[in-house]
């Protein structure tokens, strides 16, 4: 085969339309939204439930509730004892887990397809009859406190990253994002078992959940089981709307953050970005790859390799339904002052606002996006999470089949424009983390 023919082959491949994800959607009468995606390639099935609740739904005085609740969901229900969920799934040859973030809580299991009924039954049993007892609750509250101590309080930089970055949100105009997912220990202490029951009744009702089944099943049989298991779960009240009126460009904030766990200074700068459904999201996502994604990124090349000012540098983006954050960060090399590091880090950010990026950088970022996008469709679990994302965070779930085009059509001008618009001092929170002794650390 000649070089020309090979070139032709690769062009025809890249232009071939992405296979759309064909899904069937129907709501139950109690409001449960159901998506079915058939894929008979292998007799495997994923049962995936998202509850439309995250830390953004919490009220003042009750922070940390959504995450605590995720723990409660593994403590047993009317027909499945504590520990039975995990054991039944494992013995059926499957796997399972759950997680909580600001915007949603998810639960999932992947099973041999002849155990679809087991996955649905277990999810239905806990949706209809979770065992909310004072013992289970007390036990899980302690587990969560331990989790906070280990994952945040005892980790260098973690408090700045978690507690510090939340300070970019105004607690008056946007309480939902001005507190952390794990919440305050005082709030957890003040929580009572009836609070937990009320939270369950409001947010874990079928009308606040989305069930996705992906894999090898017969739709009529799946519908029948879903109707039988979930159909008579009572509909709950409409959860109150989330109130976040956070504005961008609220002026530059700067906080010096002593950290007893850190031995090297670090600089973090958070920039507010618009909600996920904004037209600028694709350009911001590609920009984060160019600036901070991997070995060949600008920050790594400039700060770690060339100038050797940092031992680590990168970008972290948190795209949310409300305003999210684009965080650039660097950990100083030995002997480098925070002033030097801050100047070098901000110079790299400013350079993109001034000069934009190169065609080659944009191409590499699109390549990385495409592979992540495509590799993320290989398993039933990945597909389930993706349809959930589009069902929750996009105007229309059908965008699952068109969204990639928005990323692949981002231009150099788009990148330049979003950098100038969002990555500016007036829209930033700067955290200077300095190594400290215990006594100096803020409470």
């Amino acid at each position: 085969m000649s070089r020309l023919m090979l070139a032709a082959l690769s062009v025809s491949v890249s232009l071939a339309a992405q296979q759309p994800v064909p899904y069937e959607y129907f709501p139950l009468d109690n409001g449960l939204r159901v998506f079915l995606i058939e894929d008979h390639d292998t007799p495997v099935v994923t049962v995936n439930v998202w509850y439309n609740v995250g830390s953004r739904n919490e009220r003042p005085g009750r922070s940390g509730f959504a995450h605590l609740f995720e723990h409660m969901m593994f403590q047993g229900s009317a027909n499945a004892d504590k520990g039975a969920h995990m054991q039944l799934i494992e013995r059926a040859g499957g796997n399972m887990n759950g997680s909580t973030n600001t915007d949603r809580t998810n639960y999932y299991q992947t099973l041999p397809s002849n155990r679809l009924n087991l996955g649905l039954w277990l999810e239905a049993d806990r949706m209809r009859s979770l065992a909310i007892t004072p013992e289970n609750f007390e036990n899980q509250r302690e587990t969560v406190k331990e989790e906070r101590r280990l994952r945040i309080d005892n980790q260098p930089y973690a408090r700045a990253f978690v507690d510090g970055l939340a300070m970019q949100y105004d607690s008056v105009t946007c309480y939902p994002y001005s507190h952390t997912v794990i919440g305050s220990m005082d709030d957890l202490n003040a929580t009572t078992t009836p609070d937990v029951q009320a939270f369950f009744d409001l947010y874990y009702a079928p009308n606040n959940a989305t069930l996705v089944v992906v894999g090898d099943f017969q739709p009529a049989e799946a519908r029948r089981l879903i109707q039988q298991y979930f159909g008579d779960i009572p509909q709950g009240a409409e959860p109150p709307p989330v109130d976040c009126r956070q504005q961008l460009n609220q002026g530059a904030q700067r906080i010096v953050w002593p950290d007893a766990m850190a031995n090297l200074p670090a600089v973090l700068s958070g920039f507010l970005i618009p909600g996920h459904d904004n037209a600028d999201t694709p350009a911001l996502s590609l920009l984060s790859t160019i600036l901070g994604g991997g070995e060949s990124s600008r920050l790594n090349q400039a700060l770690v390799r060339d100038q050797q000012l940092a031992v680590q540098a990168g970008v972290f983006t948190d795209s949310r339904r409300g305003p999210g954050q684009f965080v650039v960060l660097a950990v100083a090399n030995q002997g480098v002052t925070t002033d030097t590091l801050e100047a070098a880090l901000m110079a790299e950010v400013a350079r993109i606002g001034e000069e934009g990026v190169t065609e080659e950088e944009l191409e590499r970022a699109k390549n990385a996006f495409r592979s992540t996008d495509v590799f993320g469709r290989q398993t039933s679990m990945n597909i389930a999470e993706r349809i959930q994302h589009y069902a929750h965070d996009h105007a229309d779930p059908s965008e699952i089949n068109t969204d990639a085009d928005r990323y692949l059509s981002v231009t150099l001008d788009d990148i330049h424009r979003v950098a100038q618009r969002y990555l500016v001092p007036n829209n930033s929170l700067l955290l200077i983390v300095t190594p400290a002794r215990q006594a100096e650390v803020q409470p």
Binding site: M1, L6, D29, D41, N117, Y157, N263, R370
Partner: protein, 694 residues
């Protein structure tokens, strides 16, 4: 509920039988779906390389996996580890690309390129979006044909390998596996693992020669999976690999030793809180038709948490953290094994029960319901291993490499489902042989020897493999160290942690001394690994004997495991950290309640203890230790090597350099003048150093 939803609800009622209540029991499995194992295509390249394609255009992904019949079995016995080293260095530079360029090019298209070597096969794999297939195979061909194996990369890889071996020796499960394979396979290559000596013996010339002689296309497979046609795959392969030619030399596996009457090899690990038991025998060659029945038998005996070994040894008796059995299937003869990790005092009872269960599967007909549920699990779980084209291709590659026959994968589930009780028993009798088995027990010989002797004859060795007699099992007495807390630097020290010279974390230590005690605490944080570890304790000021020691470890941002031991004369009790339950799992806590025949020091405070000793060039101290992160007796020897000057972030210091030999060997630098302060420490096993900052 509004009027429309009432109408909808009535409509729903009409379609669902009124009797369909929510079940109060988990629903039973439904019939298994028939699996059409995805078809695959084959071709042979002009150079003799066989091409296998699992074509699937659902997603624009293509993966290449080259498998060459070359591996540890092809190594010169004096250079065990050579094949793995060759694989590790393959992607570290070619005549036209640096290691950095190779990783940048493949990462720039969001793809991957990995090389690896096992006992029997050498593999090189790459996964990319289809439009980068040309780049992926081009890079693979470049490293295959033009790798330069840079000398400095070899030294780095050697250090990693040596550190791995050292870590392995502290893990009883790994020690047990090493002795077990050696006992089963003898001089057969499967019985020969790399050692410090063989890894040290590997030369760059040997790596180059191994690659030149063995990485040849004839006899190998290029397995391609994803969105590409056979013609396109073949054209790509011919283009990039067309100049590659030749055949690897034929290999001889040698014969493993003949079976002999069951006896026990006891690997003495003084102070061990647990015993690791391995029972097994050589079992089947790859194409053995009893494989299916034997697999079902194994599922019932020890193939999971609902199998007999786990249920009886753990759930009923509470002797163990887990007990399992398995068959493996390498290119040459495979083995059966049953394993358990049990508390020291129940070692003999657990071994006897395991042997009983192993005999039972050979002699007692399994109930039909047990058989059906085992077969249901095995046939049901198989599809979870073939969800993606790459996973399918991986299974096809195994079928082809091991010569399992063209219908092996297609008929696997059907053959499992057809196994009958008599077939199961016949297969168990042929493949599980408790009367000519190899048994290895790693544990504290002083406690478990007598009990084991009642089960079978016992040979004893130490962890290094040196023969011991029963008399060697009694612990020896030790002399007291001449410590003086007044020689120590006290207060808070902050140290940097570096890996290959790059800062990766921090360590903070604090020491206080009062009239009775020395108190210390240390916190180690390595953010990129999510690691947070620490220890704290109290020593008697006059003797430095521990009173109490606590060790804490959290990895990957997970929950911390914490163990505290109290020392009461010669008695030690409390909890200590043991080996993790599995890869990536946190260490398990072990109850410890033991009395020793000798006084011990705290293994967490070796460096600090040195600062309380009189130091001069040539002096050396030997002392046995025990600690909460390492509940076995480890003896350390520290020798003052020389006086020198060392510069760390805190400044330049006049220091003693002290070599510390033992389980976790290190070099420490301690200020020459009292109060002695630790200014630097380097681990021998890994390129990790600690340097005083302030």
């Amino acid at each position: 509920m509004n009027r429309f939803s009432v109408v909808a609800a009535l409509a729903a009622l009409a379609t669902v039988p009124v009797t369909a209540q929510f079940p109060t029991q988990p629903p039973a499995p439904t019939a298994l779906a028939p699996v059409q194992f995805p078809p695959f295509q084959q071709a042979t390249l002009r150079n003799g390389l066989r091409l296998i394609l699992v074509e699937n255009h659902q997603l624009p992904i293509v993966s290449f996996s080259l498998a060459i019949p070359a591996g540890a079995v092809n190594e010169p016995p004096a250079m065990r580890g050579l094949a793995g080293m060759t694989a590790e260095l393959l992607t570290k530079g070619t005549t036209t690309r640096s290691a950095e360029q190779i990783s940048q090019q493949i990462e720039g298209v969001g793809g991957s390129l990995d090389a690896g070597a096992g006992d029997d096969f050498f593999t090189l794999s790459s996964t990319v979006l289809t439009d980068h297939a040309d780049l992926a195979l081009g890079l693979a061909a470049d490293v295959l044909l033009n790798a330069t194996f840079p000398a400095e990369e070899l030294e780095l890889a050697r250090r990693r390998s040596l550190s791995g071996l050292r870590i392995e020796r502290s893990q009883p499960g790994a020690v047990a596996a090493r002795f077990f394979n050696r006992e089963l396979y003898g001089d057969h290559p499967y019985g020969q693992a790399p050692t410090e000596t063989t890894v040290q013996a590997i030369t760059r010339e040997a790596v180059q020669q191994f690659a030149r002689e063995h990485l040849r296309p004839q006899g190998g497979w290029l397995v391609v999976a994803g969105a590409i046609s056979l013609n396109d795959a073949r054209a790509l392969a011919e283009r990039h690999l067309g100049t590659w030619s030749g055949r690897a030399p034929a290999r001889a596996y040698g014969r493993p030793p003949a079976p002999r009457a069951t006896d026990i090899l006891l690997v003495h690990r003084p102070g061990s809180q647990q015993s690791n038991i391995l029972i097994g025998n050589l079992a089947m060659r790859p194409g053995d038709q009893q494989y299916y029945a034997a697999t079902v038998a194994n599922k019932i005996l020890g193939g999971g948490t609902d199998a007999r070994l786990f249920q009886i040894l753990r759930e009923e008796r509470g002797w163990t953290y887990g007990s399992y059995s398995s068959f493996n299937r390498p290119f040459d003869v495979g083995r059966f094994q049953a394993t358990a990790e049990v508390r020291t005092p129940v070692t003999d009872s657990a071994l006897a029960e395991m042997l009983h269960q192993v005999r039972r599967i050979r002699t007692e007909r399994v109930p039909d319901s047990t058989l059906e549920s085992a077969k249901g699990f095995l046939t049901g779980v198989f599809p979870l291993t073939i969800e993606t084209p790459q996973q399918v291709a991986g299974q096809v590659a195994v079928q082809e490499r091991l010569g399992l026959g063209q219908d092996y994968l297609r008929r696997y589930r059907e053959r499992i489902a057809a196994v009958t009780p008599p077939q199961l028993m016949a297969a168990a009798r042929a493949t599980v042989r408790p009367d000519s088995a190899v048994i290895v027990v790693v544990g504290d010989g002083a406690v478990i020897f007598e009990g084991l002797r009642a089960i079978a004859s016992v040979r004893i060795v130490d962890v290094e493999g040196n023969s011991l007699t029963p008399d060697d099992l009694a612990p020896s007495a030790a002399t007291d160290l001449n410590v003086d807390a007044a020689r120590m630097h006290t207060g808070r020290d902050s140290l940097n942690v570096t890996f290959q010279g790059q800062a990766i974390g921090a360590m903070i230590s604090e020491t206080t001394v009062d009239e009775e005690t020395v108190r210390y605490s240390t916190t180690l944080m390595i953010p990129m690994m999510g690691m947070n570890a620490g220890n704290a304790g109290v020593l008697q000021r006059a003797t430095f004997r521990p009173v109490e020691t606590t060790s804490r470890l959290a990895m990957g941002g997970g929950a911390a495991v914490e163990g505290t031991l109290r020392f009461d004369g010669m008695r030690v009790h409390g909890q200590a950290m043991g080996a993790p339950a599995g890869p990536g799992a946190p260490p398990a806590l072990r109850d410890v309640d033991t009395t020793f025949a000798l006084a011990l020091y705290d293994s967490d405070q070796i460096a600090a203890t040195l600062t309380a000793l009189p130091l001069a060039v040539g002096t050396s101290y030997t002392f046995p230790t025990f600690g909460a992160d390492h509940a076995t007796i480890s003896t350390y020897t520290a020798r003052v090597e020389r006086r020198e000057s060392v510069t760390v972030p805190a400044g330049t210091f006049d220091v003693w350099r002290v070599g510390v030999a033992g389980e976790e060997a290190s070099t420490v630098w301690i200020t020459a003048d009292a109060p002695h302060r630790l200014v630097r420490m380097e681990l021998a096993s890994q390129p990790i150093a600690f340097e005083l900052v302030r």
